[in-house]
Symmetry: C2
Subunit: 126 residues, 2 copies
């Protein structure tokens, strides 16, 4: 069944949608700033090929250092970040698109005073 | 291999990325206004599970009336549209998310004076 999730408002500089659960995303309880995750398209929507999630990482925060077999499609919606991608580092801002292939090491660090927010597409089966 | 596509600028109210080909999207040559398509993550990026595209439809324009087995994940980046989705109609704006399940009839009509732009995620094999 098709589904629409409407953007409702901003909270702490992060996007919020109607009827979408706000989840804590805590890759590092020993010091990472608060980060959140919202599943915009997932198992609730019966999406069997891909899922779309929104992550927001507050200033000073970062995502976990990840390496896994599945790939990511990232679209930056707000803020800036430094991306560790394999052996390289890149600075990202609004509208930048990153394809992170499977097994590539990756980690996002928020830069500046605004939360970093991005869409992250993954295979449904991972 | 991982890839970054950087947002470069706006043109005719549409987003443009470095090193991403601009393609015409012409569902209806008999009167639809100009629409464009850019493949942000696709076969060039060796993405084997999902593809991410950006579509922009100028004021007065629309996408084709589509019905196909594969599903869509849509994220609205700018502008407004009326969406025909099955037997229903919905108005969409910035940040709204639509999951269009397979076989659902769908068509977007740009509303207002600004181009309507959205991300559209699809299965790589379709």
């Amino acid at each position: 069944m098709s589904t629409i999730h409407r953007l409702s408002d901003m909270e702490h500089g992060e996007l919020r949608w109607q009827h979408v659960a706000l989840r804590a995303y805590g890759p590092d309880n020993s010091g990472a700033e608060r980060a959140t995750r919202q599943i915009l398209i997932g198992t609730n929507e019966h999406s069997s090929h891909f899922h779309m999630r929104y992550f927001a990482v507050q200033p000073g925060g970062h995502t976990s250092l990840d390496q896994h077999p599945h790939d990511h499609g990232v679209y930056v919606l707000h803020g800036r970040a430094r991306l560790r991608l394999g052996d390289e580092e890149h600075e990202l801002g609004y509208g930048d698109v990153v394809y992170i292939s499977g097994t590539e090491v990756h980690q996002f660090f928020t830069l500046g005073d605004e939360p970093f927010g991005f869409l992250c597409v993954v295979p449904a089966n991972r």
